[in-house]
């Protein structure tokens, strides 16, 4: 129950913030931070709770993005219907990849590498096959209206991505409170022990990857609605996969607020370094990389772990 209260508080706070913020810089920052949080949450469902590290989540991101734009441009669907198709098709691709790799018992680095390979295959296909527009990419015509899921003001976009993030939080909270979540984390911690207790690892992991892919597809659909251009590299390139996994790990995998916290911190770090050291090209990324290493060195269990340790220490202190 406590989670629901915090999620509601988070949602209201961000919604109010988005209406209060006037400056374009901060509204864009908020939107992109939420977008990064969404990707991290999606990855965390499979990586954090399912224990299956994927290096190719761009596969689902790109599927969602392409379906979102092609459904509108070639099938003439309304943006919101396209969104449903995007999330569904990403989820289906997730189930497909999951079924293939889990059935053959791929775990750990093997699973990570097969997802990397799938993303690369989709990128090459997107380049060669015709309907995705190949290397030329595909444009989403500018029709700013809520019905077309394109917003003149950033606030509309923020509310949409906030909706996805809140949905992600609710699903993660449900996961922590449900049989499916208990089984998923059991399989993560010890697959054989879980099987002896009646858990079917394949079905559970498939559930996790489908959920994870669906949310990643939502992220892809959101991206293309905001930036309105997509090419195979943006859709299936490794950058998105790395961004989602780094934010989730830095924030603390297998936690409710870890991915959101990680995404916020890393996005702030990236913006801060870019603004401060923008003039010397590369310096900002060097600092980003160094801070990333420092975080891993000194906060091994992730930023949200810090919160837990502090609270635990505080409680011990009080009790002691």
């Amino acid at each position: 129950m406590r989670d629901l209260v915090t999620i509601a508080a988070f949602a209201i706070a961000v919604a109010v913030l988005s209406s209060v913020l006037r400056s374009g810089v901060w509204t864009t920052f908020l939107m992109m931070a939420l977008y990064a949080a969404l990707l991290a949450q999606a990855w965390n469902l499979l990586g954090g709770y399912g224990g299956q590290f994927s290096f190719g989540h761009a596969l689902f991101f790109g599927t969602g993005a392409y379906v979102q734009v092609l459904a509108q441009t070639q099938a003439g669907l309304n943006a919101w219907i396209a969104l449903a198709c995007a999330v569904a098709s990403a989820a289906v691709v997730g189930t497909g990849v999951g079924a293939l790799s889990f059935r053959y018992g791929l775990r750990g680095s093997y699973f990570a590498l097969v997802t990397l390979a799938f993303a690369e295959v989709f990128r090459i296909l997107a380049v060669t096959v015709g309907f995705t527009g190949g290397g030329v990419g595909v444009m989403l015509p500018l029709r700013e209206s809520a019905a077309n899921l394109q917003f003149a003001s950033r606030q509309g976009a923020i509310l949409v991505v906030l909706g996805f993030v809140v949905a992600g939080l609710l699903v993660t909270a449900w996961l922590r409170r449900s049989r499916f979540g208990a089984w998923l984390q059991a399989v993560r911690d010890n697959e054989d022990a879980a099987r002896a207790l009646g858990v079917d690892p394949l079905r559970v992991k498939l559930g996790a990857i489908t959920l994870s892919a669906g949310f990643m597809g939502a992220g892809g659909a959101f991206y293309v609605q905001v930036f309105q251009y997509l090419d195979p590299n943006i859709a299936f390139g490794p950058a998105t996969s790395v961004e989602s996994l780094v934010a989730a790990i830095v924030g603390g995998i297998g936690t409710l607020w870890g991915p959101v916290l990680g995404a916020l911190v890393l996005h702030a770090l990236a913006e801060f370094t870019r603004n401060l050291f923008g003039d010397a090209p590369g310096l900002n990324m060097v600092i980003y990389g160094v801070v990333l290493i420092l975080i891993v060195l000194f906060v091994p269990r992730g930023l949200s772990g810090v919160g837990r340790d502090v609270r635990a220490a505080w409680r011990l202190g009080r009790a002691g």
């Binding site: 590290f53 290096f55 293939l100 790799s101 053959y104 018992g105 791929l106 750990g108 680095s109 093997y110 990570a112 590498l113 097969v114 990397l116 390979a117 799938f118 690369e120 295959v121 090459i124 296909l125 380049v127 060669t128 790395v242 780094v246 790990i249 830095v250 995998i253 010397a280 090209p281 590369g282 310096l283 900002n284 990324m285 060097v286 980003y288 990389g289 160094v290 990333l292 290493i293 891993v296 060195l297 091994p300």
Partner: protein, 290 residues
């Protein structure tokens, strides 16, 4: 399209390109085999080595092939230092942390290069860059043949080190069972650092063979990392002979695939094999059952 005049050169081209891929993959498979992590900084290490070869050639006038021992030693030292100082501390026993550290290192190395060496593409000019050797209908660049010979030599040296020397036994022990090795009195941290050092040394050797036929800029590493992963998996995680065989095979597939399916679709051949091997034979061609 199918006559020998095309197939043979394409095959030879594939084998010689594959040799350089194998050399890069040898380092990666050693690091994966011993440290059980996927080294995301491998591409950045290759870039650093390529710059080293470039500056040795342009500033100090040392030919890439002569610079081999220098670059190999320097990369070994870099690898040993990085593992000892940064990577080993970050582990805390969790694989995802080591993975994140190598990712951080890749970002730092790539952008340091961008900062100091600017971002323009650099190449070197050697007397033999353009000379080619005729083998039947095929004309193969000399640099590629030297690369092929070099890769085989490096692989055999590595195999000898791992199978015939005490260090090699220690490496294999740590790879198999870290705690057990520690009990036998093996300084595991030292072996980790040695493996990472040798891993980057292989990359150094690859750079010396690669630069004469290629170029260097801060982003050059990323193009090779994915192929190296494929080869490591194809050959069998942790197996050197596997990495060598895998490298040659991938080179041939890329070359012939490119010939028949067109250059960019040809790349799909690599990843199709990658997925097939992972699904149907995860232990790869020569690896041990995972």
């Amino acid at each position: 399209m199918l006559d020998v005049a095309i197939l043979l050169p394409s095959f030879l081209n594939g084998v010689t390109t594959g040799a350089v891929y194998a050399l890069i993959a040898l380092g990666l498979t050693l690091i994966y085999g011993v440290l059980h992590i996927i080294n995301f900084a491998h591409g950045a290490a290759l870039m650093v080595a390529l710059y080293a070869v470039y500056f040795l050639k342009n500033r100090a006038g040392i030919d890439p092939y002569l610079a081999l021992p220098l670059v190999v030693a320097a990369m070994f030292a870099l690898g040993y230092g990085l593992q000892r100082v940064v990577i080993n501390r970050a582990g805390h026993g969790k694989d995802e942390n080591i993975l994140l550290v190598t990712l951080g290192l890749a970002i730092v190395l790539e952008n340091l290069a961008l900062l100091f060496f600017k971002s323009d593409t650099r190449t070197i000019e050697t007397a033999y860059t353009l000379t080619t050797v005729a083998i039947g209908p095929a004309t193969i660049a000399l640099t590629k043949l030297v690369a092929f010979a070099g890769a085989l030599a490096a692989a055999t040296v590595l195999l000898w080190v791992v199978h015939r020397t005490d260090l090699g036994r220690a490496i294999r022990a740590v790879a198999k069972e870290t705690q057990g090795a520690r009990l036998m009195g093996i300084d595991v941290e030292h072996v980790y650092a040695m493996s990472f050092g040798i891993g980057l040394a292989c990359v150094g050797a690859a750079a010396c063979f690669l630069l004469p036929a290629y170029y260097v800029n801060p982003q050059v590493g990323s193009g090779f990392v994915l192929v190296a992963f494929t080869i490591v998996v194809l050959g069998g995680m942790g197996s050197f002979a596997g990495a060598l065989l895998g490298g040659l095979l991938i080179g041939i597939v890329e070359s012939l695939g490119g010939l028949f399916l067109g250059e960019s679709l040809g790349q799909i051949g690599i990843f199709a094999i990658f997925i097939a091997v992972l699904l149907f034979r995860p232990q790869g061609l020569l690896g041990a059952r995972p």
